[in-house]
């Protein structure tokens, strides 16, 4: 049997496997939230989800449209506020930050502020929101984004959110909490990690049907290509059934592919 699935479904399923049971994750709007819901409904029923506006560990009835809407604390453990959530992250209690982004560089720095010159921008985006906070405070940052040369760039136009900044030691030197940083980038082509020594991006696995050459071609900087590159396991039947039936029945996220 060949399963049919689209790129967004692939990204969500691949990402959800990083959210281990009994861990804590701070999520942004949209796909990251759908991913956390999928993880909860598959391998990680005790995954604790935090929302920046104050919602903690809800029994999410449906996908929230906003990280501050009432679904984010529906039958939740706590309905608190932003300072509570952000300081919980800063105290070291939150394992994962899960974000999106408009541009990303080889050190995992994210731009969600402007394209072009800051003072005279070609495109203005919303800005950090809570992304910079989560990626500064949480132990490991997961980033989900579409793979293309215009997004994976040598130098982002604006570092909204810190990855490894300029390389080894730079986060620590800047004053960011020790032992934190980007962990995995999950795209529609591959899963990317970081080289321990150079803190630059490497290919960890390519998705079914994707060539390593394609990943390199769609990346605007030199990727580290290890000798051994795994194949990302495709979405399972169970994952797809739950994702389509329970997580996003209105196809708000997975319909965007």
């Amino acid at each position: 049997m060949t399963r049919e699935y689209n790129k967004v479904e692939m990204m969500i399923c691949a990402s959800s496997r990083y959210l281990e049971d009994g861990k804590t994750v701070a999520v942004g709007t949209g796909a990251p939230c759908a991913t956390a819901m999928l993880a909860q409904k598959t391998a990680s029923p005790n995954l604790v989800i935090l929302f920046e506006a104050g919602g903690l560990a809800p029994a999410l009835p449906q996908m929230p449209i906003s990280v501050g809407d009432s679904r984010t604390f529906f039958r939740g453990i706590m309905a608190a506020g932003m300072v509570e959530m952000m300081t919980t992250c800063c105290r070291g209690l939150v394992d994962y930050a899960f974000l999106g982004g408009a541009q990303i560089d080889k050190y995992g720095n994210i731009n969600s502020t402007v394209i072009g010159n800051y003072k005279k921008p070609k495109v203005r985006f919303p800005g950090s929101g809570g992304a910079n906070d989560f990626a500064s405070f949480c132990w490991r940052t997961l980033i989900m984004t579409v793979h293309s040369k215009s997004r994976f760039v040598e130098k982002v136009d604006f570092v909204t959110t810190a990855g490894f900044l300029t390389g080894p030691g730079a986060r620590e030197e800047a004053g960011l909490p020790l032992g934190t940083g980007p962990y995995k980038i999950i795209t529609d082509l591959a899963v990317l990690g970081f080289d321990e020594k150079t803190k630059t991006m490497l290919i960890e696995s390519v998705h079914p049907g994707v060539e390593v050459a394609t990943v390199k071609q769609e990346t605007g900087f030199e990727l580290i290509v290890p000798d051994f590159i795994r194949k990302t396991p495709p979405p399972t039947d169970t994952e797809l059934r739950i994702l389509r039936g329970e997580v996003d029945p209105l196809r708000l996220i997975i319909g965007r592919s």
């Binding site: 709007t29 949209g30 929302f51 920046e52 506006a53 104050g54 919602g55 009835p61 449906q62 449209i65 906003s66 990280v67 501050g68 809407d69 009432s70 679904r71 984010t72 604390f73 529906f74 309905a79 608190a80 506020g81 932003m82 300072v83 952000m86 800063c90 720095n109 502020t113 800051y118 003072k119 005279k120 921008p121 070609k122 495109v123 203005r124 985006f125 919303p126 800005g127 950090s128 929101g129 809570g130 992304a131 910079n132 906070d133 500064s136 405070f137 604006f158 570092v159 909204t160 959110t161 810190a162 900044l165 986060r171 030197e173 800047a174 004053g175 960011l176 909490p177 708000l252 996220i253």
Partner: protein
């Protein structure tokens, strides 16, 4: 104090706590009836040029009625505190009300997409900007609420967000650790929508409080809109649930469905059709003008706006969409 690094953008507000204290020294602590209508509240507490902050989170628990009145009163050159501002920011851009903004999240409406008009305004260069993060802005309010001139945070460090802010890097006097010091902000006025308030301004909020408790304490003037006015006795029977005490509050306005078209936890969900309509109509300046005239400039009250949006039938539908209801 050694400052190791500093953001290059200008600070919009004075972070001096003794100046803020001078203001609060004179603010009345009398428990008086503070009810008034949106018009009077805007007239008295939101002059042209003042620095405004809005409670809630973009399109959740926002004080729409007062924002509409700001547009109708043709307020200009407002400063704005933009921490996850979505529909509220879109409204202020529609009214061309602001000329400077502290930014954490603007233009976007989260999963709904970006506002074409707000984007146009922000790309035009007409509005002076300063970058922050959501937590940095919450921490700025918290510092003000605590009566001190700055807070220290471990975010922003190392990024262009820091460079384009007005934050400064300092070291911990105990550990040598680096922090971003963020300056206190005492907004001139805050508008906050709550579930219950008494006529004196004692407020209860159900569900997440976002940064509103810090905001109510930081702002020099506070305008409250409430879904429902309740008796002071009810406040006094549940003092644990009071989150904003009366002496912070200047105006109390009862506005049922006051967060519409946003979500109000336990009461009604957001009107996604209406919000989608905004994003569509903003693409065409001609259409947008007509839209604004119809929904905002051409109505004289929030009730009339609700009528034009579908009235009771629509509101009942939004009540049904709200999954979070009382047990």
């Amino acid at each position: 104090m050694n400052v190791l690094d500093k953001g290059i953008n200008a600070l919009f507000m004075d972070p001096e706590p003794d100046n803020a204290r001078q203001f609060f020294a004179k603010k009345s602590r009398a428990m008086t009836d503070k009810r008034m209508n949106e018009k009077d509240a805007v007239e008295r507490f939101i002059p042209d040029g003042c620095y405004l902050a809005i409670g809630g989170f973009g399109a959740n628990r926002i004080a729409t009625a007062v924002i509409h009145e700001i547009l109708r009163a043709r307020r200009k050159n407002l400063g704005f505190f933009g921490h996850t501002s979505t529909h509220d920011f879109q409204l202020l851009c529609a009214g061309q009300c602001i000329d400077r903004v502290d930014i954490a999240y603007i233009i976007g409406l989260e999963a709904r997409g970006l506002s074409p008009n707000a984007r146009r305004v922000m790309e035009s260069g007409e509005v002076q900007v300063c970058e922050w993060t959501n937590y940095a802005l919450a921490a700025r309010l918290k510092a003000a609420a605590e009566g001190v001139s700055f807070a220290i945070v471990r975010c922003m460090l190392g990024t262009d967000t820091f460079k384009m802010s007005a934050a400064r890097v300092i070291e911990c006097p105990f550990t040598g650790k680096k922090y971003a010091a963020v300056p206190a902000v005492w907004p001139d006025v805050a508008i906050i929508h709550v579930h219950h308030a008494d006529i004196y301004g004692n407020c209860q909020i159900r569900g997440i409080s976002i940064a509103d408790l810090e905001l109510a304490r930081a702002a020099k003037h506070v305008i409250i809109t409430a879904e429902r006015l309740i008796d002071n006795t009810a406040i006094r029977m549940r003092p644990t649930q009071t989150v904003i005490p009366f002496y912070l509050v200047d105006a109390v306005i009862e506005v049922p469905f006051g967060s519409y078209p946003g979500n109000m936890p336990y009461l009604y969900y957001s009107d996604e059709d209406h919000l989608a309509q905004w994003l569509t109509v903003e693409k065409d300046p001609q259409e947008f003008k007509k839209f604004l005239d119809h929904y905002i400039y051409g109505v004289s009250s929030f009730e009339q706006y609700l009528e034009r949006c579908g009235g009771l039938a629509k509101l009942k539908q939004l009540q049904k969409l709200e999954t979070l209801v009382d047990s």
